[in-house]
Subunit: 402 residues, 2 copies
């Protein structure tokens, strides 16, 4: 008799009717003989509502108090779901983050899990209870309520799966798996039966927001099989994320895009040891999140460095760079706005000749200009104008998956 | 530098605008040099909303899960109030029941406080924080969330005042004190400057719902001076509830009514030791709450016992009594419905000749029929028809306070 973790997101628990469907999924797993730990998010727009109420009070809330406020959302869901399971004749007990406890560091709003106590949950499971855990939240060692940040409930679920050596961690969501591209704007997308942790990490970071990176990282570290499934479709098998090797003939697993990117080039940075470090230290100190970095050597003693930041960070970044232009000792700072990053992901791309050229061919056929190219072991990214991005994704997808 | 407890009820914290006024009251107390512990309820109709959502799921919720659900209401208020005080430049930290912790027994939905740990709050106070505690909630020794039942936030406030030997416990509400009668339906009511714990207990139990009995009982036991004040009027002095002796010339302190009472008479109960006990044991075992009991002896070996129960309990009570009629060995069970209890309260009523007759005179003048009379050291109650009750209260109030 194994332990199964089931996680249901906000849209899956949005109202009583949807909670009914969630209860059915839980009961089915219970009936099949498994011990079940359920992780839930706040219902529907609850967290948004709490945050908008918070904004009435202050634009700059204490992060500790913010966590006290928003953690009520999941607490409401766990109690309702437990009641619903009782109503259907099943034993169930809800646990908040501090009741488990899920102990985190004190980084309010973006805490990392330190450890999860097992005794309370094991006791409840052994007395035949379905255990319902509030996602997204924990408690620090001074008994302050903490939250795990974006994708926090997924992280809770996979961390529990790792901790209890669960047979599976099922992430129920409003899509029925991971696709070769975003179905909202790409035609003929295909659901993947399997994807590796690394591919999923690249896909997630590229804007295919099915799962947050942190939960995939934990899954990879502890080798937790993660299934992404739909809450509302019956008998869907979903996508399995695991360390299984991909089939040899599978070249790329997905096409993704990430909008609102800007590109900055530091022209003529002095080619001296420490200069590059100095540049990125400056940006890190100012909390500027850098994505791709490309360095192209030019003349002997100078170099150009190009990197991307989100459009929302562009003005701040330029201001910081220009204020430090003398210190950096560079010739010029130029930038391009309103770009999208379009990427293909697949284990072994680096070893497959012709994958990059096939991607570039697709773009060329549609006259789409590439502003930057960056490659890794399992990914090739290009920057294109934001207006070209949907077309780019579609044409690349068609080229590889037709 | 003393400790002051300030408690603000649901209507006082209903929205951001009202929280602003609450913040002003807190800051005024802080500026005057006191250490301040604030207790708050859930905002406005939050608890009602949660309960109506609960009813969508089940009519018979697990009491443990019910407490998990409703305790979120106060948690929302404490975080918002802390943020608002930060916004105004004050140090403030929120604490849920389990963070204090306020340790209760495990009677979910109606828990009793066992003890309150002082260390966390004392630490926060000594580092100049305003401490904001969630009212109404606690935690049992197995780390389950509990709630204190009706009037729970008042109980939290007075219990904290007792525990920290506070100089005062200020209960802020939407009325500016305790009145000689309910201002909503009695003319020319007067606010009382002072009232004793015992009088307040009688007034509260008689339907003057300014404070719940439990908090007054704790106040009396630990001699906590309780001020009832208005959140929204400036400079109101409110009513002080303490053990101060009343002025000699003050005959009655208030007139109160309690609606929806029914009267049951057990006619011809065998006059044998143990029969009365048997009767009330039966009712207690069935959780029937008895208010007034009056016994009138009749023939030598039988007696009549009359008592009152709430209208909502009437049918259940009659059913239980009739099912046990043979066992009780009584002649008849009769009852009267839709009555109100109208009472006058004042320390020393028993020693003041003419008080009862003055009350009866007032009722007689208006042709109001009395269905039962019961007196104690500090109270005289009569049952009247529910339609007569407002008239009864007004005419009695006029007689004593004109």
């Amino acid at each position: 008799m194994g332990i199964i973790i089931q996680k249901f997101g906000g849209s899956s628990v949005a109202n009583t009717e949807k909670l009914e469907q969630v209860a059915q999924k839980i009961i089915a797993e219970k009936i099949s003989g498994n011990k079940v730990i359920v992780v839930v998010s706040a219902q529907g727009k609850t967290t948004d509502r709490l945050i908008s109420e918070e904004k009435e009070i202050t634009d700059n809330p204490s992060r500790r108090e913010h966590d006290v406020l928003v953690s009520t959302g999941e607490q409401i869901t766990i109690s309702k779901l437990a009641m619903l399971l009782h109503q259907k004749g099943y034993k169930a007990v809800s646990l908040t983050g501090w009741q488990v406890p899920i102990v985190t560091n004190s980084e309010f709003g973006n805490s990392r899990i330190r450890y999860i106590h097992k005794a309370t949950i094991l006791d409840l499971l052994s007395s035949d209870n379905i255990v319902i855990v509030a996602g997204f939240q924990g408690v620090d060692e001074n008994l302050n309520i903490t939250t795990l940040g974006r994708g926090g409930s997924d992280t809770t679920a996979v961390a529990l799966a790792a901790n209890f050596e669960a047979d599976r961690c099922d992430i129920y969501t409003d899509v029925d798996g991971v696709y070769t591209a975003d179905p909202r704007f790409v035609k003929n997308v295909k659901r993947l039966d399997k994807v590796s942790y690394d591919e999923m990490l690249e896909l997630a970071s590229l804007g295919a927001k099915v799962l947050h990176n942190r939960c995939v990282e934990i899954g990879k570290k502890y080798n937790v099989p993660i299934f992404v499934k739909s809450t509302f479709e019956k008998n869907n098998i979903g996508t399995l994320i695991s360390n299984e090797k991909p089939l040899e003939d599978l070249v790329i697993n997905g096409v993704a895009k990430d909008d609102n990117i800007s590109r900055i080039t530091i022209v003529g940075l002095e080619n001296k040891i420490g200069k590059t470090y100095e540049l990125f230290k400056l940006l890190a100190e100012n909390n500027i999140n850098i994505d791709i970095i490309v360095q192209a050597f030019g003349e002997t003693f100078i170099k150009n460095i190009t990197f991307t930041v989100k459009m929302t960070d562009l003005n701040r970044t330029l201001k910081i760079l220009n204020a430090n232009k003398d210190k950096l000792n560079c010739k010029e700072i130029i930038h391009a706005e309103n770009l999208s990053k379009v990427s293909i992901v697949g284990v072994g791309i680096a070893n497959k000749p012709g994958v990059a050229s096939k991607m570039f061919e697709a773009l060329c056929e549609k006259n789409i200009n590439m502003h930057m190219i960056s490659t890794s072991e399992i990914k090739i990214s290009v920057l294109v104008d934001i207006e070209d991005a949907p077309n780019a994704v579609n044409t690349i997808h068609e080229k590889f998956f037709k």
